[in-house]
Structure formats: C-alpha cells, structure tokens
Amino acid sequence: MNGRSFTDRDIHLALDGELPEDERTAYQAWLEANPDMKARSQRFAADNAALRGLFSGVLDEPVPARLAAAVNGDTPKRKGMPPWWRMSAAAALLIAGGLGGYLVGTGGFGFGPDSDDRMAELAIAAHQTFAADKNRPVEVDGSDPAYLTGWLSKRTGLNLVAPDLTGNGFQLLGGRLVPAAGSTAALMLYADEQGNRISVYVTTGGIDATKGTYVLADGGPEAVYWQEQGYGCAVVGTLPPDELRVVARDAYKQLLAGAGLARS
C-alpha cells in the first residue's frame, strides 16, 4: 500500500479513526511533506476537540425529571402555550349558529395538515399584492371602522373588530376582502408615519391549534399567525421581528376582546 496517494479526504478519515492501521505511517509522512495539509488537519483536530469539550458537560447534568418520567410511561406536561391561547377563541369569534358553526362542524373546508402554512402563505400573498399598492390598497377606507368591520364580518362569517394599533404607531387605512383557502378572508391594512404597512388577515378554517411565524423561502415579509379550531389570524409586515410580534399580539388580543373574550 506504499504507493497510495493521499488527499484531503484522508484527513477526515484519520481524524475520525477510520484510516486503516497499515496506512497511518504513510499518511503521517504525507502530512509532513505537505505543510498546508498538515495545518488543515491541525485546524480540524482543534475544532473537533473544541466541539467535544463544549458538550461534554451535558453528560454530567442530572437527568431532567420529565425525561425519566417519559421512560416510565408517565406523560409529563410540556411547557405549554399560555392559557389565553388555549382558550377557544374560535367559538366566540365565530358568529354563533351561521356559517361559522357549520365550518366548525365540518372541520372547515380546504384545510388539511399544514393549513397554518397555507394560511400564512395566503396572508403574505395578500399583503404583497395590496400593501404594495400605493394609491388603492383598500376597498373600504378606515374612516368609519364600524361600517368596515360590519361589512367584513358579514362576508367572512366572523365577529370582527378593527384592532386599534395607534399605540404601536399604526393607523388603520381600511380593509378589503381577499381569497382564503376555500373561503373568504378579511384583510385590514395599517400604516405608520414612516409609511411602513402591515396587514391583519383573518379567516375561518383551520383544524389544528397552532401559532408561529412564517417567511417564504426566498425572504420577504414575515407573518405572525395563530390558528384555532375554525379561525385563523395572520399579521404580516416587514418590521424588525420583535416589533412585528408585539404589534401582532396586540392585534390578536383585540380581535379576541372584540369578540367578547377578555384575554387573561
């Protein structure tokens, strides 16, 4: 095997103890003859040692009780969602009886697994289409919020209010109807003094209770969303992430309160 030539691939094999015993002497000689390869091998070896050292302490940590309990077949409670989120927002937001009740009863239509992703994508698409329209972003302006939300509520089957986001620097521009997956969504647009626009997208539908944030693979605005049985809400905009989350929670809280639910 003396004639074997080595490559940088062998550096990894050697480092991971995968180089055959009878090749090690020749490998060492190759390293000595190739200073750049030797330096490379030393850097990788140092990184390896650093990685091992960094995580070695985990082995000495006491095993968390919840993990031991899991092995013994008890299913310990997870650190869950806050109680206000567990509340069934859907029931109160949906206008009792009508279309909403029907949707809850049938599990909604057009929504399956990953319906939260789908909702976030539609909310982002609506935001990109309408918030970018400088002159005609809305169908009905925000000068009479009661009229606006009355119309949107009727068309979506939701009991809607227009969240007051002036505390966050955002004024209501107005709203419009936009398509949702198998139904209709209300889109309410807001702008701040710098001209940043955010949209609040509310729709029926959805099966799983989820929440999260969503950004398309190629970037663009972020959606912060909540989805409950029969109800979904996404706040979309291009703001620093923490800022958007604060505004989004404020909007969501008011949507719940407006439907007769006080947030705990």
Binding site: D8, R9, H12, L13, D16, G17, E18, R43, F44, D47, N48, A50, L51, R52, L54, F55, S56, G57, V58, L59, D60, E61, V63, P64, R66, L67, A68, A70, V71, N72, G73, T75, P76, R78, K79, M81, P82, D117, A120, K211, G212, T213, Y214, V215, A217, E222, V224, P241, D242, R245, V246, A248, R249
Partner: protein, 172 residues
C-alpha cells in the same frame, strides 16, 4: 420490561448531549429527547434485545430531528419559540460561554441539519462511520461527504467570524 427501561434510562445523557449539539437550546433539545423516548416506548418490539438500545434510540431521534428541521425551514426558526417576549430568549447551551465557544456553537447551528447530524454523531458522539451511516440511513459515501463538507463549512464559518472580528478591531 423493567430491565429494558433501565437500559433506556442509561442512554438519556448521551441522547441529551446529541440533541443539545443539534439544537443548542436546552428546552428544545430536551423536548426532542422526550419525543424520542415517548416514541421509543411505543415501539419496544423494534429494539433487538441483547443489544444496547443506543443506536436504536439515536436512529429514532434523528428521524424526529429531521422532521422538525423541515418544519422550521418552512416557518422560520422563531416558530419553535414561544411568542411571549420573556420566554423567547433561548437558554444558552453552555453556562458561561466564552466568545470562542459561543462562536463555534453558533457556527455549528449554521451548517445544514444533515451535515450537522453526521458531524456531531462522529466527532462528538464518537460513532464509527459505519454506525453513523446506519443510524442516519445513508450510504457510507454520503456520510463521508457530509462529514467532510460539514467540517469544512464549520471551519470556514469560524474563519469568517475571526476575520470580521479583526476588521472590527482595525476599525476602532
């Protein structure tokens, strides 16, 4: 059954270390371990008795990790964090992190999940290429290239950080 459970319990520290290297955040890592243990308990018949449950458990956890990464990729990393600002700060993987250790942990999180898993299994967990390839369900050649690329990527990220640090010092 009790013997089997005891054998699984013994593997928890190793599973936790692997999860922590993969995910950095302590709570998320322990959630992954818990998911793994819960799933393992429903599939005890898949564990070939007489063998250490280690590789079986690591295999289960790897599948869960990859599933989770697919979801995170689509939703943005914040999806796994609670929205409450107070809870949103991740627990550091290691107490009293030095700048150097923070950098290497950060860099590890930046390499792709597949490469990260391969590198961590071999470099930190000390599995052989053959063992790691079996657990990750890939051919040996794929495993090798993931390790090589992962390690090179990690080094490039660290060199990059070092360069940025140098520039900052020069700018002062």
């Amino acid at each position: 059954m009790e013997e089997k459970k005891a054998a699984i319990l013994q593997e928890i520290p190793r599973l936790r270390r692997y999860a922590r290297a993969l995910l950095r955040d302590r709570e998320s890592a322990d959630d992954l371990v818990q998911d793994c243990l819960e799933r393992a308990l429903t599939r005890m018949e898949n564990w070939r008795t007489g063998e250490s449950p280690r590789r079986w458990l690591f295999t289960i956890m790897h599948h869960l990790f990859i599933d989770q990464m697919r979801k995170v990729k689509r939703r943005g990393e914040a999806a796994i964090l609670p929205l409450d600002a107070g809870e949103a700060l991740a627990t550091p993987a290691i107490q009293a992190e030095s700048v150097a250790s923070r950098e290497i942990v950060d860099a590890l999180q930046q390499i792709s999940p597949d490469r990260r898993a391969a590198l961590v299994m071999v470099a930190i967990e000390g599995f052989s290429y053959a063992e790691a390839a079996t657990m990750l369900g890939v051919p040996a050649g794929t495993l090798m290239s993931r390790i090589a690329r992962g390690r090179e990527e990690l080094r490039a990220l660290l060199d990059d950080q070092a360069r940025r640090r140098t520039i900052r010092i020069v700018e002062k």
